[in-house]
Amino acid sequence: MSRSLLLCLAALALPSLTCAQAQATVFRGARILPGGGTPIENGVLVVGGGKILAIGGADLAVPDGATIVDCAGKTITPGLIDAAFRAGGGQDLAENGEEVTPHLRVQDSLDPSDRSFERARAAGVTTVHVMPGTRSVISGLGCVVKTFANDPQAMIVKEDASLRIVLGSEPSQGNRAIRGGQVDSIYYRRPTTRMGVVWEVRRAFYDAKEALQQTQGVPGTPPNPGVEVLTRVLKGQLTAVTTARSEQDLRTALRIAQEFGYKTILEEAQDAHLVVAELAAAKTTVMLGAPSATSISGSAASDGADPRSVTVRLLADAGVPFVVTTGSNLQALDLVREAMFAARNGLSPMRALDAVTIEPAKLLGIDQRTGSLAPGKDADFVVWSADPLDPAAAAVSVHIDGISVLAPR
């Protein structure tokens, strides 16, 4: 709460230097795609104090003395939300000391001045969900941050937003089995196989379950901080996000979650098209990684996944909630381009845009603050030169908490 208040104050501080009265700014004449609602032609968006004050058609009453920004011919959307953002910090997000580190918090590694945030907001992305890296089996706690702030604390929208579990070959990549000789490297360690990875997950949750049973009714914290985090997942107080790409790993993710009775979001999920019924039955949400990565003539994706263009349509038809992310694909730096590919693959343009705005906001539990344009929400929005799903469209201005954050060209 106090943090958002600070943000508001920061937002207020800038314009109020010039004119204390005229706090409201009116963006007029654009086609407004509010996120999850019907488009407004020739719309009016009123912002002030870092919040959206009003939104409506051309007849919307405008406060006296407000600054008017003419946006005729432009399109306004909510700031985009990347639910699986590969933040900079590089190696800093991958803790190699242990396989299971549920208590590590990614926010301790975040650098607000990192280039990746600058690039993201230049591309219209105002909020991102950052998770620790994929080199561990249970890599730690993710958090949701705005892509613009002066210090890491001010960026944070929601801390401890998720617990990341990683399946597949990544957590064991580079690990070597000990076959005689000296153990002179940290990489002589387990796991070295998929079954080893799954065992690490299981063992962690067994421990957590045991701790829960032991402390049943007894006040006090379990001894191990990691175990404490996992008990929160088991109690449904913390969302698990399982990174899994191939069908095999997706089924494993669902199986382990069912076994221990926790709910998990599936991230990356390139093979989701093969387990649609299971996803629907388990009421699972999918963070679909980089639809653009489907090389159409089909080189094998990582972990043997077989991404298909039909995936978005199958998920939509089956009613499986899903969002589109840039995921771990290095080429996919541009979230709006990923939405474009989702639309190309048969998702309606409206749904494609929702999949990078209001849907991820709901999924991350921040839809009270952002994800759509509605009075009272944060003034996070983008003015585009054309429809954002048009490859020729560019972000004209990007606003986070009412502050224009795009460096002039």
Partner: protein, 456 residues
């Protein structure tokens, strides 16, 4: 069969002309769509009439009588364009660089794999002409070849061979200066070889004139075949296609242009050299990555730059190319990137049609729709710059070579295959003699649709 391309190509003297396999229909009419010929105004409700592989007539449907014998492709509601021309690509080969670096006698004709998925993707993306060249990790890498992405053999695909020698300033071993030194050395070696050859020949003629050699003897020695291509290069009989990875090599590239007939292929970090490229005043080819980031050394402010826009602002014509995979492999993305960065739409379209056709010396054959040119036409579901637009049909030299409804790869990508037991023909599978082809029921892959997508 007659040769379809009886033409002198300005690319080089040694162009071999190979005839098209796709003579196809005698008469083909593409009717009813919005025709965007490139270089002339669009025609709504137009007709493209192709006879024996060439465009016979182009105009309003009301003005052109379609002969009764013509096969008609209905393009109502669609957009009709010439197929794209890619001026430089290293895709479609099995191994694009020999690990020996000075191999000017090689040709990509021996490396092109007609079954490569790259050529499938070309048709899927509306590309009708590709200039396949050796890769960038080289000094003098051998000859390129212009192909149509259709055919079972390289001969079937060939449009023009020996289109020039690939050269590169990309630092392979020992950095930039080393690469420059080695390239100069390689060229100097060829010059020495030629000078030696000519000196010996002159001596022979001199001795013959002096009577030291019998009068009936003639000079029979020819230039070493491993040197012939490079000799042609230094004699400007053959064009060199020089890859220039960044601004830092432009200086050397311009020096080389003074002595050789060069076509520059530019990497993307070129902003510091834009003035030099402007003075060069010749069209350039861009590699597939058009946008790049640059950080100001003093302010540490990062800027996103677009190589195509920089060239456009400097008045330097450019040709676009496509990547081997990912977003840059899609023409709509490359064209959209240009327009997004402020390049006029027509300039962007020209960069994938008329400009590359001219660079390849094929501008009298392809690159635009005009009477007398080859019937290389693509029919799109909508605007070529929209993500939701799909290539519906590709016609090369009057023959239909691609139809989206029959594209097995798209069917694979757009088919729900969750019922694997059925696919595998397990015991529960009803014993049908022929499993129905998916296209019978669903003539189109489910995606795409109209330009605005299918609302749900």
């Amino acid at each position: 069969m007659n040769s379809m391309l009886p033409r002198s190509f300005s690319v080089c003297a040694a162009v071999a002309l190979l005839l098209g396999p796709a003579t196809g229909q005698d008469l083909l009419a593409i009717k009813g769509g919005r025709i965007v010929p490139i270089g002339s105004p669009p025609i709504d409700d137009g007709v493209v009439l192709i006879e024996n592989g060439r465009i016979k007539k182009l105009g309003k449907a009301a003005d052109i009588e379609v002969p009764w014998a013509a096969k008609v492709l209905d393009a109502t509601g669609k957009t009709v364009l010439p197929t794209w021309v890619v001026a430089h690509s290293q895709s479609g080969q099995r191994g694009f660089n020999e690990n020996m670096q000075n191999v000017p006698w090689l040709t990509v004709g021996d490396a092109i794999d007609p079954a490569s998925t790259f050529f499938e993707d070309c048709l899927r993306n509306g590309v009708g002409t590709v200039h396949v060249m050796p890769g960038n990790q080289t000094l003098l890498a051998g000859f390129g070849m212009v192909v149509r992405p259709f055919g079972r053999t390289v001969e079937d695909m060939a449009v023009a061979s020996n289109t020039g020698i690939k050269m590169s300033l990309a630092a392979a071993q020992g950095g930039r200066l080393q690469q420059i030194r080695r390239l100069r050395r390689a060229i100097a070696d060829v010059r020495e070889h030629l000078a030696d050859f000519e000196r010996r020949k002159a001596e022979f003629e001199k001795e013959k004139a002096a009577g030291a050699i019998a009068a009936d003897k003639t000079w029979t020695e020819e230039i070493d075949r491993t040197k012939k291509g490079a000799v042609d290069l230094i004699q400007k009989k053959v064009k060199g296609w020089l890859y220039v990875p960044s601004f830092a090599e432009v200086d050397e590239a311009l020096r080389l242009t003074q002595e050789l007939d060069l076509q520059l292929v530019l990497g993307n970090n070129i902003d510091e050299a834009i003035g030099m490229l402007k003075r060069l005043g010749k069209p350039v080819v861009l590699d597939e990555n058009l946008e790049y980031f640059e950080t100001d050394e003093e302010t540490q402010v990062e800027k996103k730059l677009c190589s195509a826009k920089l060239l456009h602002d400097a008045g330097v014509p450019f040709a676009l190319t496509l990547g081997g995979g990912g977003p840059t492999s899609y023409p709509w993305w490359q064209l959209g990137t240009c327009v997004r960065n402020g390049i006029p739409r027509d300039t962007a379209l020209a960069a994938l049609t008329t400009v590359p056709a001219k660079l390849l010396g094929l501008d009298d054959q392809l690159g635009s729709l005009a009477e007398g040119k080859l019937g290389n036409v693509q029919i799109l579901t909508g605007d070529p710059l929209q993500a939701t637009t799909w290539v519906e049909t590709v016609v090369l030299e009057g023959a239909v070579v691609y139809e989206r409804s029959k594209d097995p790869r798209l069917q694979y990508l757009f088919t729900d295959e969750k019922d694997k037991a059925k696919k595998a023909g397990g015991p529960d599978t009803p014993s049908e003699p022929k499993p129905e082809p998916p296209k019978a029921e669903t003539p189109k892959p489910a995606g795409g649709g109209g330009s605005s997508g299918e609302g749900r």
